[in-house]
Structures are given as structure tokens and as C-alpha cells.
């Protein structure tokens, strides 16, 4: 039968059903009347005759069911009937229903959110044609994504396995369209970028490889759709307009399609500009320096039929050629491939690890929730054993009863799933508009789509079956006769044995999961608190940071330090400002300039001979004062350390110890940077955090911006004044210096919140999961305890009647629940300590062996146990043996 007539037939059967039912009723009644007539004739009084006739007839409902079952419309009809019946049953115990739905909503919601993340960050490839052949190149043993421009050119021209090698680099420029100069972040890319990716313009055209004719030859720019929308208000006349980028004229040639937002998942660029114009973006002459190997990232499509392994062999042969040809600059030129969407191995493994761990935890929570609901349903089935037995006795089939139980489970799971899905959609929406960094256009690209809905639906159905299955055996085993005869005790007798049941295992598992979650969230919270109060090597309190880049306003050469000095002086003059200091890149702000340094004796300055790899800051004389960094030995930089004086540096403790053995030894000693003259150490400052919270202590050097100019300028303004008023004064002071200089002004603490994002995210996620785990553990233990108390009420009553003490009663009633709690907690604690080690990568100063954490977990679990067993314990203790024993 094809689908449509089949449905029509079933629908028709559905409507004819009531008609059929009355017909059957009439017929059965007529039969009984006829039989009663006969019986009456044989001498029975009429009422007795009718009673006998009814008994002889047998189960009328049962036969009607049988008839309905032989009808096609039966499936739908009984389904609706089942649903109506289940709804009635569920509504009769609203507490149980709400608890079950909420439990599931939490568990499924959490899973949907994590799945949304998984889908967005890992499962979904970049939104470009043929993303599966797209690979990014990494080199060296530490899988660095950076290459130098010259190396890129050689790789591009000498490899035989990539269709076309693309490069991109994130840059920040000053945009001036006539009014309101602003900063903007985008990519500088090779000319072949759009062609190689196969992207078509939304408006205008893209630039091509053919547009590149040497340095500064391609003043073109493509802007992204969101930027076109927000900054240019969808103005179609933008194509062909000239805008000032860092005071250089660039022509906007086109707008990228809305579906294309660059080649990193989480970083949406405002624009794309050709890398050959790098110098105009305040970048200096990097294009011609071969050992500037942190410069760009290279990726591309493999040629059809080429495997990643073949590509690596090919790249390595180019690498060998590079090492041989440029021994001074190129070392470790062995290559690996990675997916470009998460910047290869820079972010891929931690993000993947974090999401996978979350998925695992969320999955465990759902499993725990199912275990929980399964035991709740089993307990209910036990409570309802008399009802079930009666239904069986009255002729209902076991299948029908099982179907009712499953319908109930599915109704609960679908309701929970829907609720959870709505919650997760709201949360994912909030995540997708969240901007964790005040400076970078970083987003979490989650868009709750069909895949999330399907995942939630499947999870709901699967969990419904999972916990619906638990009471099945119990129902199949119900012996109607025994139950009706002996009361509910008859059914449960079989399951109160000493052996370990599936339920026990599930509960221990669940408690262990909960303990793991509690342990890890405590570790994370503790670590976060400690990192907030740890020594960063500077003091972000009572300081504001003004972030700008002088190249964006067209300053070059000697003008840069001169303008920086004017800015410092102007800010210094603001009343209430105690000190002002400039640094080229604030610590913990996403990047830190770094380079190799050599001992003074080294003559052959190749990477292999480097004495240390150090972070290299350019600062103004008063920076340490303004930043609150303590000078340990020697002197600070002064305004006299300029081009007319010997080159000097202040170094941190770690650098002093690493290069010269000790802090005292360092003063007055010399070392060599990669480029430029030897530097003399004049002072040593305390250690600090530079790149990220969780880094191992790194060496750092500080050079005067007068001796080594830098365009990037973050100026720290220390003052006890109210930040808002101070900000207004700073803005005025800066406008007086240059109206065209785009800048950002934030308190240092706000600026820093970015650095804490990973540990914050981890802490919040684990905290939420921990709370959910705790709720589930409480309901699980509560379920078990309540169930075991109600099953053993009679036994408790007898014991009390025979003089048992409260302690013994409690032991009898709750001993099992508490034993399971103990086993689970210990297992969970041990696992949690192991998990904490993983956490140490994400959360600064996460230490699972912390006595605070260990005590916290024990207290938390004990508290959970107390909460969960309180009500059942009260019930057990309030047993009145007299009443109880009289009842049955």
C-alpha cells in the first residue's frame, strides 16, 4: 500500500472507531441479554441471570481491544490513547514529572550547548569550497605556524603538491574615511588569496596575484560584509572609493560575500589587503628579512589526488634546499600539515581537547540523568506494582503496559528535550554575540542550526528509551496473582537481595561523575582566584591604558619617538596623574615581541647558537614606575639613553639568571640582540607574566624606545582619579596632540580581562557542570534512599518494635545508599585529581593536590549525601511500629 492511501485508511479507521465501539457494545449487550433470557427460563431470578451471563461472557474490554487490535487504525488510536493515559498519570504526580523533566532539560540542554560548540569549532570546516583539501603549513619541532615572507615565496614557487600557496597575516590599521579615524583589524594576504580559495565577490571585484608588482604596488582593499554593513551602512557606492589606511590611499575594490569571514573560525576580519603593501601598514621592511619567521601563516589546497604525506615529503625537500641555501637564517625546516580553521596547532589541540572534555562530561551527565530517571521510573513501577498487577489480572497485555511505560518515558524525555533545547539555543545565541576581547574581533561562531536540533531530539529519544527500559524486566516479571494476593511486597522481594544490582552500579558511576565535576570545578575556581591575586610583574589597579599605533596616523622615522614623547608629556600634565609610561606591547595582551639573543662572545649569529629566546619590549623611561614593576638592581632607563648614548637594556630576573648566572652578576654585562649593536645591562626588574597566564617564566628585556623606536604605543597612565573623569581628560589631551590618531582607552583591569578568558570560560563551564552533577547526584541518592526506606518500612517497624536504636534503624534504611555514596566519592575524587592535571594547562595555578580542594570535595560530597538522605532518614525514624504493623 502506498503511503497516502494507507494514511487515509488509518485516519478513516480512526474516525470509524467510535462507531465500531458502540456497535460492539450493542452486540455484546444483546448477547448477554439473550443468555440471561435462557438462564431466566431455566429458573434463575432475572438479576442473578444477568450477573451469571456477564461472568460467562468474560472480559468485555479485552475482547473489544482484540477487535481493535485487528483493525488498521489501531496503532494511531492506541498511541493517542496511550498518550492521553500517560499524560493523566504524569499529571497525577506533578512533583515527579517536573523533577524528571527539569533533570532531563538540564542534561539535554548541556549536551546541546556542548554539541553546538563541537559542531561549530570542530565538525564544521571553513566555509569555503572544498575545505577538505585545505591545509596549513607548520614548521620545526614545535610546529610553528609562522613563516617569513621570503621563505613563503620559495615554498610557493618550489613546491609541487599545493595548487596555490596562500599567505595571510593579521594586522591592525587606522582607517580614515574622512571622519572619525578608527582602528580596524583585518588580514594582509597574498594576491592569490581569493582566487585560490574560490571565493566570488559580493560587490565589485577582488584583487589577484597579477596585481602584485613589488613593494607597495597594490593599494587595494576588500572589505568584509559585516564591516561594510556596520561601517559603510550597505553603501553600494563604496566600490572604487579611496580611503586612508594609515594615511596611505587605498581603493576599495570589492566586498566579500556574507558567508565568507576569513580563514580563521573565530576571528572575523574587517578587510583584506595585499601583503606587498606591508610597509604602509606600519610594518617596516619585514618582507625582505628571511629570519622574520613569525611573520605570516601559509596554507593552500592540495592538488587533486595528493595525500598530506606526499605534500609533507615535497615540502621537506624544499625545506632542505632552504636550509642549505640560507644556513644563517633557516634551521629546522621540516614541515607538518594542520587544519587552518583553528590556526593549526596553535589553537587546535587545546580547543579540541577542551571541547572533547566538555562533551565527555556532558555525555556523562546525560548518562547519569538517565540512570537517575531509570531508577525513578523503576521505583514508580514498584510503587505501582499493584495497579500493574490489577491491569494484568483484568486482561491487559504486558505489551500494552510496557507501551504505556515507554510512552510516559518518551513524553518526559521529549518535554525535557524541548525545554533543554530552548535553553541551549538561548545560551548559544548569547555565546555567538559575545566578544571576549575588547581589542580583537574575536567571536565564538556558534549558530544553533538544524544539527543541534537533531542532536537534541535524538538525545531526548535515546535517553527516553534508556530510562524507559529500566523498569521493563520488573513489569515482565510481575506475577499478577502473587501481587494481588500478597500486596506490593511480593514484587520487590526479588530485588532487595544483597547482590549488586545495575542500579547500584549506575548510582556509583553517577556519584563518581559528580565528584569528578565537583573536584575539577573547585580546582578551576581555586586556580582562577589565585591567578587573580598572583604577581604578574605589574599592578593593573588604578591605571588606564591608552592603546594606539602611530603608523596609523602616518608617523614615520624620527617623528615616532618625538610624538610619543609629546604624548607622554601631555598626559603627565593632567592633574592627578602620578606617572606615565609607554610600552610597545602590553604584557598579557595577546602578543609579545620576541627574538633570539646571543652572548657577547658569539660571532656567528645563527639561530642554533642563540643563548636565549627572549621577549623584547620597547619602553619609555618611566614605564616601570607607571606599571608598578619593581626595580631589583641597577637603574631605570632615562631620557638620556637615546641615540647619542651607548645602547642599554633593563632585563628581568629570569634573563639575568639565565644569561649571567645571577641578578648581581648581570649589571654592567653585555649581550647581543639578533639585529643591531650589543646591549649593556643597566638594571634588573622583577619577573612577570608576558604572553599568557599559564606560561613558564620567560626571560624578557626592556630597551628604550628612544634607542629602538616602535610604532605601537600602549601608554600606561597611573592615577588615583575616577577612571571616567580621567578618561575624558586623556581624550582631550590627546586630541590636542593629533586629531587623526585612532586610539582605545580602557582601564588596565578591563584590558586584562582578555588574558583571563580561557580560565574564566573553563571555570564557568566546569562550575555549571559541577552544579548539574550535584543536582543529579542528590536526586539519585535521594531516589535510592527513599525507595529503600519505603520498601523496608515494615522491617524497620518490626525492628523498632523489638527495641532497635535510631542508629541501627538508620543503618538498616540508609546503609546501602551511604556505602554507594562513599565508593562513588572516593572513585570520583581520585579521577578528579587526575583530571585536574589536565586543567592545569587551561587554568593558571590549578593544583588538584591543594588541601583546600580536597577538603572542599569531601565536604561537598558529605553535604550532598546529607541533603539527599535527610528526608528518607526522617521518614525512617518517624516510623510508628504500631500503626505500620496494624496496617497490613
Amino acid at each position: 500500500m502506498s503511503l497516502f492511501p494507507s494514511i487515509r485508511f488509518r485516519l478513516a479507521a480512526l474516525f470509524q472507531r467510535s462507531e465500531l465501539r458502540t456497535d460492539l457494545d450493542d452486540e455484546q449487550r444483546s448477547h448477554i441479554q439473550l443468555r440471561a433470557d435462557d438462564l431466566e427460563r431455566s429458573g434463575l431470578p432475572r438479576p442473578e441471570a444477568e450477573r451469571r451471563a456477564r461472568i460467562e461472557f468474560g472480559g468485555r474490554e479485552k475482547y473489544k481491544e482484540e477487535i481493535h487490535a485487528s483493525l488498521g487504525g489501531n496503532l494511531m488510536a492506541t498511541m493517542i490513547q496511550d498518550i492521553r493515559y500517560s499524560l493523566r498519570v504524569l499529571l497525577k504526580s506533578p512533583g515527579f514529572t517536573i523533577a524528571a523533566i527539569l533533570t532531563l532539560a538540564l542534561a539535554i540542554g548541556a549536551n546541546a550547548v556542548v554539541f553546538g560548540l563541537l559542531d561549530a569549532l570542530i565538525l564544521r570546516p571553513l566555509n569555503v569550497p572544498n575545505p577538505q583539501t585545505l591545509y596549513t603549513i607548520e614548521h620545526g619541532p614545535d610546529k610553528s605556524e609562522g613563516e617569513s615572507y621570503l621563505d613563503y615565496l620559495d615554498l610557493r614557487d618550489r613546491n609541487r603538491t599545493f595548487e596555490s600557496l596562500i599567505l595571510y597575516n593579521i594586522i591592525e590599521v587606522g582607517f580614515d574615511t574622512g571622519a572619525n579615524p578608527s582602528r580596524s583589524m583585518g588580514y594582509e594576504v597574498s594576491g592569490n588569496y581569493f582566487d585560490a580559495l574560490g571565493i566570488q565577490p559580493w560587490l565589485g571585484r577582488f584583487f589577484h596575484g597579477a596585481d602584485e608588482h613589488g613593494p607597495n604596488s597594490a593599494p587595494y582593499m576588500v572589505i568584509s560584509y559585516p564591516y561594510w554593513h556596520s561601517r559603510f551602512h550597505d553603501d553600494r557606492g563604496i566600490v572604487g572609493r579611496v580611503i586612508q589606511v594609515d594615511k596611505h590611499p587605498f581603493t576599495v575594490v570589492g566586498v566579500a560575500p556574507p558567508s565568507f569571514n576569513g580563514t580563521l573560525l573565530f576571528f572575523f576580519p574587517d578587510f583584506w589587503a595585499p601583503v606587498v603593501n606591508h610597509e604602509q601598514f606600519g610594518g617596516g621592511d619585514v618582507l625582505n628579512i628571511r629570519n622574520e619567521q613569525d611573520f605570516i601563516m601559509a596554507f593552500g589546497h592540495l592538488k587533486p589526488g595528493v595525500t598530506p604525506a606526499q605534500a609533507i615529503v615535497d615540502l621537506n625537500s624544499v625545506g632542505a634546499w632552504l636550509e642549505k641555501t640560507y644556513p644563517k637564517t633557516d634551521a629546522h625546516m621540516t614541515f607538518t600539515l594542520a587544519r587552518p580553521s583553528l590556526a593549526g596547532d596553535l589553537l587546535g589541540p587545546p580547543v579540541r581537547g577542551f571541547v572533547a572534555a566538555l562533551m565527555l562530561l556532558a555525555g556523562l551527565i546525560l548518562l547519569a540523568a538517565c540512570a537517575n530517571l531509570g531508577s525513578l521510573f523503576a521505583a514508580r513501577a514498584a510503587d505501582r506494582s499493584r495497579e500493574i498487577a490489577l491491569r494484568l489480572a483484568l486482561g491487559s497485555s504486558r505489551r500494552r503496559i510496557l507501551r504505556a511505560v515507554f510512552t510516559e518515558a518518551l513524553l518526559v524525555s521529549l518535554a525535557g528535550g524541548t525545554l533543554g533545547l530552548f535553553g541551549s539555543i538561548a545560551l548559544l545565541r548569547a555565546l555567538s554575540v559575545w566578544h571576549p576581547s575588547p581589542r580583537y574581533p574575536i567571536i565564538v561562531p556558534v549558530a544553533p542550526g538544524a544539527s543541534v536540533y537533531w542532536a537534541a531530539l535524538l538525545l531526548a529519544l535515546a535517553s527516553g528509551f534508556l530510562f524507559g527500559v529500566v523498569p521493563v524486566r520488573q513489569i515482565l516479571r510481575t506475577n499478577a496473582y502473587e501481587v494481588v494476593k500478597a500486596g506490593s511486597a511480593g514484587v520487590v522481594a526479588g530485588s532487595t537481595g544483597r547482590r549488586i544490582t545495575l542500579r547500584d552500579v549506575l548510582l556509583v558511576l553517577q556519584i563518581a561523575i559528580c565528584a569528578v565535576l565537583v573536584t575539577s570545578s573547585l580546582v578551576a575556581v581555586r586556580g582562577l582566584l589565585q591567578s587573580m591575586h598572583s604577581n604578574w610583574g605589574f599592578d593593573p589597579q588604578n591605571a588606564m591604558v591608552l592603546d594606539s599605533d602611530l603608523s596609523m596616523a602616518g608617523y614615520t622615522g624620527e617623528n615616532v619617538p618625538a610624538m610619543q614623547r609629546r604624548m607622554i608629556n601631555a598626559l603627565q600634565a593632567i592633574p592627578g596623574v602620578t606617572s606615565v609610561g609607554l610600552i610597545d606591547e602590553l604584557p598579557l595582551n595577546g602578543g609579545a615581541p620576541n627574538e633570539d639573543v646571543f652572548t657577547d662572545e658569539t660571532t656567528d649569529m645563527v639561530p642554533a647558537k642563540a643563548a636565549a629566546h627572549t621577549i623584547n619590549y620597547k619602553i619609555s623611561p618611566d614605564y616601570f614606575h607607571a606599571a608598578g614593576t619593581t626595580l631589583l638592581r641597577g637603574r631605570d632607563l632615562t631620557w638620556h639613553d637615546d641615540n647619542n648614548s651607548p645602547a642599554v637594556a633593563v632585563v628581568n630576573e629570569e634573563f639575568a639568571r639565565k644569561m649571567f648566572g645571577s641578578v648581581d652578576n648581570a649589571i654592567g654585562r653585555f649581550f647581543k640582540p639578533e639585529i643591531g649593536t650589543r646591549l649593556q645591562v643597566v638594571g634588573v626588574v622583577e619577573n612577570g607574566k608576558y604572553w599568557q597566564m599559564t606560561e613558564n617564566q620567560k626571560p624578557a628585556i626592556f630597551i628604550s624606545f628612544l634607542q629602538s623606536p616602535a610604532n605601537a604605543s600602549s601608554i600606561v597612565v597611573r592615577s588615583n582619579r575616577d577612571p571616567q573623569q580621567l578618561a575624558a581628560d586623556i581624550r582631550t589631551a590627546l586630541r590636542e596632540q593629533d586629531r587623526g590618531l585612532p586610539f582605545e582607552l580602557l582601564t588596565w583591569s578591563d584590558q586584562l580581562s582578555w588574558a583571563l578568558v580561557p580560565s574564566r570560560v573553563a571555570t564557568v563551564a566546569l562550575g555549571v557542570l559541577g552544579i548539574m552533577g550535584s543536582i543529579l547526584a542528590i536526586t539519585g541518592i535521594f531516589g535510592l534512599a527513599a525507595c529503600s526506606v519505603s520498601r523496608r518500612l515494615r522491617e524497620i517497624g518490626i525492628r523498632m518494635a523489638l527495641g532497635a536504636q535510631r542508629r541501627e534503624v538508620l543503618g538498616a534504611a540508609l546503609g546501602r545508599a551511604i556505602k554507594l555514596l562513599l565508593v562513588g566519592s572516593v572513585a570520583g575524587l581520585l579521577l578528579g585529581v587526575l583530571a585536574g592535571r589536565v586543567l592545569a594547562y587551561l587554568v593558571y595555578q590549578a593544583n588538584p593536590r591543594d588541601p583546600f580542594v580536597l577538603t572542599g570535595v569531601v565536604v561537598a560530597m558529605a553535604f550532598l549525601g546529607l541533603v539527599a538522605t535527610w528526608i528518607p532518614a526522617q521518614r525512617a525514624l518517624s516510623v510508628n511500629p504500631l500503626v505500620l504493623l496494624r496496617e497490613d
Binding site: 450493542d26 444483546s30 439473550l34 443468555r35 461472557f57
Partner: protein
């Protein structure tokens, strides 16, 4: 009661067809007729008749109509259709074959004597 035999599965339909083949009957009448022709040797729960009747009507072997009984009660009367008559003939034949085969299999065998 215990001297009554349980019905073999599938035989109820055959008995109904046979009972109705002698003329239209209502459900209760069919029961009485089966009792009469089988010498009250078969145990049939009264209600169990109706699913069987319903099944046969749906298969088009019987047709049913409301009418009035001898003692003026409204009742549903069943009657054989042509298909029902044909089915009864076939089933009777195959039943006899089966019964004969089983009877001879269970009867006294020479080597057992």
C-alpha cells in the same frame, strides 16, 4: 466442565462457518449451535466468539445485519457469503485430512501390540 476439550487454535473460525452454514444466526445462537452440533464437548468462552466473528466479516466470509431474535431482542445476525461457503468446503476437507492423519498416527500400531 473438565470433560470439555480446549479449542485448537484456528478451529473456532471453522466452527463458526459451519454453524452459520445452516442458516443465519446471531452470536449467542452460533454458540448454542456449536454446542449442539459438537455435543457440548468443546469449551468456548462466550466473549471469545466476537473477535472471531469480526475477523470473518472483515475477510468477507460472513455478512452481518441487525435484526430481531425469536424472543424479540435486537441482535446482530450473521450469514455465510459465497466466499464463506467456499472457504468452509476447503477448510473442512483439509481438516478431515489432518484429523485422519493424526488419528492414524496415534492409533494402535502393529509393533506396539
Amino acid at each position: 466442565m473438565n470433560d470439555q476439550a480446549q479449542l485448537l487454535p484456528g478451529t473456532l473460525d471453522l466452527l463458526i462457518l459451519r454453524a452459520v452454514s445452516l442458516g443465519p444466526l446471531h452470536g449467542y445462537g452460533i454458540l448454542l449451535r456449536i454446542g449442539q452440533i459438537s455435543g457440548n464437548a468443546l469449551l468456548i468462552e462466550q466473549g471469545a466468539l466476537y473477535p472471531g466473528l469480526f475477523r470473518l466479516v472483515r475477510q468477507g466470509l460472513l455478512k452481518a445485519d441487525w435484526g430481531t431474535s425469536d424472543n424479540n431482542r435486537r441482535a446482530k445476525f450473521y450469514e455465510l457469503t459465497a466466499a464463506g461457503r467456499k472457504r468452509l468446503r476447503e477448510e473442512t476437507k483439509s481438516w478431515n485430512r489432518l484429523a485422519g492423519a493424526i488419528a492414524s498416527a496415534l492409533g494402535p500400531q502393529p509393533e506396539q501390540v
